[in-house]
């Protein structure tokens, strides 16, 4: 066998192992971190970097044109849909009050969500009905 093909095979196996290790690190972070926002932060690592490394390793071992195109498409879809899910989960976590407010250093969104007239507890703001469950109005 050509020696360069063998080198590409071994490099692909190393990349697969590296991607699996990064996925495991991100999952350990998901188990150990205390909050929805920090867990979502840790969840992004296996989804993007670990998965891209695994796909690069597979691409180094299967060297066909159609396989490379499919792998690139998988990576592209994962890169496209990951931030959407993370953004929606973080937004929902903020609005339903499931975050630790004592742990936040800065909260730039809070001043915008609690404009005068939409104070928590008032409940009679113009868009109080737009937000099911009340969002910031349920914190007592």
């Amino acid at each position: 066998m050509n020696v360069w093909l063998q080198i590409a095979d071994t490099a692909g196996a190393v990349l697969v192992l590296l991607g699996a290790a990064i996925s495991l690190l991100g999952v350990v972070g998901m188990v150990k971190l205390p909050d929805v926002l920090s867990r979502s932060h840790a969840a992004t690592k296996p989804q993007t970097l670990g998965l891209l490394l695994v796909l690069a390793g597979v691409a180094l071992r299967l060297r066909g044109g159609m396989d490379l195109a499919t792998l690139a498409l998988i990576g592209f879809f994962q890169l496209m849909t990951g931030p959407v899910a993370a953004h929606l989960v973080a937004r929902s976590a903020y609005r339903t009050g499931q975050i630790e407010r004592g742990e936040l250093l800065f909260d730039d969104l809070d001043a915008q969500l609690t404009e005068p007239g939409q104070e928590p507890g008032a409940g009679t703001g113009p868009d109080a009905g737009q937000e099911p469950g009340g969002g910031h109005g349920t914190g007592r």
Binding site: A13, V27, L51, V54, M66, L73, Q78, T138, R140
Partner: protein, 107 residues
């Protein structure tokens, strides 16, 4: 079987072991996530871990048979967490975790 192929087999087997351990930890998190949002994130990561496991299998066997499954998982894996975050989590609040002092302190 030559020497470098044995090295490849050992490396990919170790990768499969790591992926299985990651899946077990994710099942733990799905089982006792305090809220639905934690389970949503864990399910999203679980789809990524399944894709990584299928990729390790494909790299082991040099087989492109599972690539369409990986494609569908990458394309549709986020819909579960988006649906939960958008429509279910607002009805499923486990406990009000805001501290009263925090609310009063921020004007």
């Amino acid at each position: 079987m030559t020497g470098p192929e044995t090295v490849d087999r050992v490396l990919i087997s170790a990768a499969v072991v790591l992926v299985v351990v990651a899946g077990a930890l994710l099942l733990f998190r799905i089982s006792r996530g305090p809220s639905m949002l934690d389970r949503a994130i864990a399910l999203d990561v679980f789809a990524a871990v399944i894709i990584a496991g299928l990729g390790a299998k494909s790299a082991f066997a040099r087989d492109a048979f599972y690539f369409p499954i990986m494609l569908v998982l990458a394309f549709l894996g986020f819909t579960g967490s988006v649906g939960i975050a958008r429509f279910i989590a607002v009805r499923d609040k486990p406990l009000p975790r805001r501290k009263p002092a925090g609310k009063e302190g921020r004007k």
